[in-house]
């Protein structure tokens, strides 16, 4: 249990998926102009990560990795389909996002209108695919992967909300013209990343 909490805290703060691994930058830059939209997208990312990471883990464990098909019979125990990882993961993510969209529409119209426009965008958010690939590379178990997925999502949400809050204030300051938009956002992200580096000693 303690190990899970430690992993969670590590992936939210110390190894923040956005600030330490640069994943999900595109939507981070595009959608961080207003706090309310940032919160909406943040929740959508956490939601999709929480579903896709365990599903991708199961797909990798029971279908794709070397020897994974041995449950079909001994003659399949040599089969290694791990080169199909990328295409399988992206298909799972796209399908899950689609299903999540339909389910949310059925269950809660309010949540759907809040998240609606952001859900399709998430398919191409590299943070989601990145988490799936990291979990394979680091050989996490199913439980660890789920915790890793959710906490990475929370870390990403934290970063985008912080950025949106800063950019809302930034509107009132006189930034040099060529630095406006992307330039100043990158410099600010660098400073947020520096601030997050102070968490790097934390150990539970």
């Amino acid at each position: 249990m303690l190990e899970m909490i430690s992993l969670g805290i590590k992936s939210v703060f110390v190894e923040n998926i956005l600030l330490a691994y640069f994943l999900g930058m595109c939507s981070f830059l595009a959608v961080s102009k207003k706090v309310t939209t940032a919160i909406g997208l943040g929740f959508a990312v956490v939601f999709v990560m929480a579903i896709t990471t365990p599903v991708n883990w199961l797909v990798h464990e029971y279908l794709l990795k070397a020897g994974a098909l041995s449950w079909l019979g001994p003659q399949f125990s040599e089969v290694d389909l791990s080169y199909l990882n990328f295409i399988a993961f992206i298909a799972v993510i796209a399908a899950m996002v689609q299903i999540a969209e339909m389910v949310i529409e059925k269950i809660s119209m309010k949540l759907y209108t809040a998240l609606g426009i952001f859900l399709p965008l998430i398919t191409v958010n590299c943070a989601i695919l990145g988490v799936a690939l990291f979990m394979i590379e680091r050989k996490y178990t199913l439980g660890q992967s789920t915790v890793f997925g959710i906490s990475s999502g929370i870390g990403w949400m934290l970063a985008i909300i912080a950025m949106a809050a800063i950019r809302e204030k930034l509107k009132y300051s006189n930034v040099p013209k060529p630095l406006r938009g992307l330039g100043i956002t990158m410099l600010l992200t660098g400073m947020i990343a520096m601030a997050f580096m102070t968490f790097s000693g934390i150990n539970i």
Binding site: K33, C126, M197
Partner: protein, 204 residues
């Protein structure tokens, strides 16, 4: 648009990273040294050119509703090819790039060019557009990679470039450049410089 313009415009004036704001994730993650940046740049250039060509060839057969899935499948196939080639011939660089080769799938430049150009243009201009954007992307990668390696480790492609006399005079490598914040800040400065030169301004 003339072919020449299609090829050269994305290199400076419509650079995919600094002007179109696409594909930032990988531009930052792999650039701690020059060598992986170079390999990554070449990989993306190949993938973007090939997928542009394929999509352009079959553009009139792709049903509009499922075009994203078709495009993702084509990109993922190209990425798998490149990944396998890297693993076979450049194993150490492939290890260094780790998950970021796979993440080319969700690199918004590739999808962006397919959607924005290859779907509505003939094969030859599509190849040129893909190649030009790939080169524009690689240029930024190489600039960030070289900057981070020189400032952070005092080396370039593994050879030391800062003279010993400078170290004796009290010069120190800036360790921050190797870490995440260094990448953000350096890219921010490159964007600032590039936009000041080309005169592309963004209104907040």
């Amino acid at each position: 648009m003339s072919n020449k313009k299609t090829l050269f415009e994305p290199i400076i004036h419509n650079n995919p990273v600094t002007i179109q704001v696409l594909g930032i994730c990988s531009a930052l993650a792999v650039t701690t040294q020059l060598k992986p940046s170079l390999v990554m740049g070449i990989a993306v250039t190949v993938i973007i050119t090939m997928s542009n060509l394929i999509v352009s060839l079959i553009r009139s057969f792709i049903p509009k509703k499922i075009r994203i899935i078709v495009e993702m499948t084509i990109i993922a196939t190209m990425v798998i090819l490149v990944d396998q080639i890297l693993r076979a011939y450049l194993f150490d660089v492939s290890k260094q790039l780790s998950v970021f080769v796979g993440l080319i799938i969700t690199n918004c430049i590739v999808l962006g060019r397919l959607e924005g150009f290859a779907l509505i243009n003939k094969p030859l201009p599509s190849i040129l557009d893909g190649f030009g954007n790939g080169i524009g992307y690689s240029l930024i990668l190489v600039a960030v990679g070289a900057g981070r390696e020189i400032l952070g480790a005092g080396t370039l492609m593994g050879y030391s470039v800062i003279p010993q006399s400078l170290y004796n005079a009290g010069y120190e490598n800036n360790g921050l450049m190797v870490l995440a914040p260094g990448a953000f800040i350096l890219l921010g400065l490159i964007v600032w410089f590039q936009r000041a030169v080309t005169g592309h301004y963004e209104e907040e």
